[in-house]
Amino acid sequence: MSGIAGYFNIQASPKGSLRCLEQMVWALRHRGPDGFGFYQDALTGLAHARLCTIDPETGWQPVCNEDRSVWVIADGEIFNHAALRTQLVQQGYRFAGHSDTEVLVHLYEEKGVDFLLELNGQYAIALYDARRQRLFLARDRMGICPLFYCRHQGRCYFGSEMKAVFSADPSLPRQIDSQVLHDIFTCWSPVGADTVFAGMRQLLPGHVVEVSAQGIGEQRPYWTLAYNSGPDCQGSVAELAEELRALLTDAVRLRVQADVPIGAYLSGGLDSSVIAALIRQCTKTPLQTFAVAFDDAVYDERQEQLRVSEYLQTEHERIVCSYADIARVFPEVIFHAETPIIRTAPAPMFLLSGLAREHGCPVVLSGEGSDEILGGYDLFKEAKVRAFISVQPDSACRAMLLKRLYPYLALSPTRSAGYARQFFATTVHPESDLFYAHQPRWKNGRFLTGFLSDSQTTDQYSSLEKIHAFMASSMQGQDFFTRAQSVESRLLLPNYLLSSQGDRMGMAHSVAGRYPFLDHRVVEFAARIPGRLKMKGLQEKYLLKRAVHGLLPAATVQRKKQPYMAPDIPSFFGTAVPPYVEHLLSPAYLSTTQLFKTAMVANLVEKCRAKSRQGFRENMALVGILSTQSLYDQFVENWRVECPASLEKTKKLIRM
């Protein structure tokens, strides 16, 4: 992986701005610590920060075609580059090096922008066609690699992270968008192409955008994740399980290719264990595995992690995360995530990537995406239980079913069946609400948005209407289980899991994550599997468990899913409250940012100090407010562009 950044002059008068590119790429040096490359002409500027995972000698970017009319920078990996290269060589194209990026240039010459459909990979690409005077920005199908852009004073600026764009020009506005803040507090992530910074757009997964003298075009999808759009997969359960295993095995095989050591994350759950087991099958080299354990036993899964690492005979490394660790790294986590978050779960992932880097492992495989595409989430289960009760309200199983939800929680919302019935709104029919599965969660969001200051909210604004506008049309005709999967895959997977918990936390320590479950062939196959084979009754990931039979200890396969979580309020209000927490949550700083109701936050803080029992909502509110205040502190109030006078590691500089 790496970092990309650059600009395109839409109307701006061309001026020599190598300095602007240097500032942008310097902000991405954590993504690409091994060296920088630049391209510049009158119209455009491209900058690349490289993390060497392949072809360390000649793989410097930007790369170009033979007549130097097409230039490319890319973050990520093209896993099928070897096969594509063979085809292109047969068609007469000449290659200068061995990197995967060079394939993109010739593939574009051959097929135009449709070349994206040929790629199997995770990528954010900027391709400049000098002859046609156009810049194309493209992002991988599932949203693994990030890409942001904005228009400012006649220029389009883009970058792997927003901090690169902000570094281009001090006059770029950096204001928090109150409606997007409302969206994040309601449904845990921004919706669509929005970001929390006004005017800054993210390129949607599977989309491409064209920039030219006419301006920045509309984002256009080149691939769409469509659940159940075609005929269901044919075949017996055994045959489907076998096909899933074959696809996953090949997805892993493609992802262990690298010129650097490959490791794996182990959570103790099924998905990461499956990936580690498949790596062991297709490589002969020793495998390093990395895991987070917690001081607090509620969150700790070290026994399960150990069971898998011993079974697979991996070289296992563990980092033990305390409350104080989470509080200590939290501001840095927000600096990298560039968004408010309502859970501290990214913080341990930040520590984990540090552990992988410390042990010389810049590439790790992990199990992200399986819960979304193969039916793993408790939310799906909850929806099934609610749907069952709404159709059979007098069933004797009702109380038992409610108790089976969330068995791992000490503070289970289902301890009280009387409340659970009302909380889960079991009187609503699953077909009467397009967002049936997510509605109880989003309703809770009203509590969180209650903290937003009046100047930040309008009574008319509805985050749910925005979600509706973003994705309702694509969900028509789907059953509630499939609709729930669509929301998870299109909203939370790219906007939270793969970004705040995935790419950003890995890249903070120059560690690239690779996700075999998100190989588009696996995803497309999963999208055609009927829901009843993903979650059979209330057994999650049924087909996956069948598919991996014999690969792992039975206890690992049969174990009930435990969602990955980290302690929230106790991290910040333990024996000592860190000074930065006191500052960010102080009435004085709350009135500086004007984002929240000061008195309400003060009451919440008091409750946190009292160390009484806290509900989910208080935990989410506290983390949401603290992270937003920290974001304001680092990106709005105290933003600094820092860049040395000259970049020592510049490996390539092309000026036309």
Binding site: S416, G418, F423, K607, R617
Partner: protein, 82 residues
């Protein structure tokens, strides 16, 4: 009774509403309908009831009919302590 109502109101306002100025809390306001307490909040409420009024709340008593407004709570506490 009135004393209990005041104690309960104060607890609900400071622990679940946080906002003492804007949200009106009538003694008959439904906690669930108004989103004042969610299902994990109920457990927090029960802990506080048990501690404050020296009572024991059984699982089967965890129903909205006992706990869903200031009035209902006061009546419930009244029954438990009489």
């Amino acid at each position: 009774m009135q004393e209990n109502i005041d104690t309960i109101r104060a607890f609900i306002v400071s622990n679940f509403l946080f906002d003492t100025t804007e949200t009106p809390l009538e003694n008959d306001t439904s906690f669930l309908e108004q989103g004042i307490i969610d299902s994990t909040g109920v457990l927090e409420l029960v802990e506080w009831l048990e501690e404050t009024f020296s009572i024991k709340v059984a699982d089967e008593e965890l129903i909205p009919e006992n706990l869903d407004s200031v009035h209902l709570l006061a009546q419930f506490v009244g029954r438990k302590t009489s």
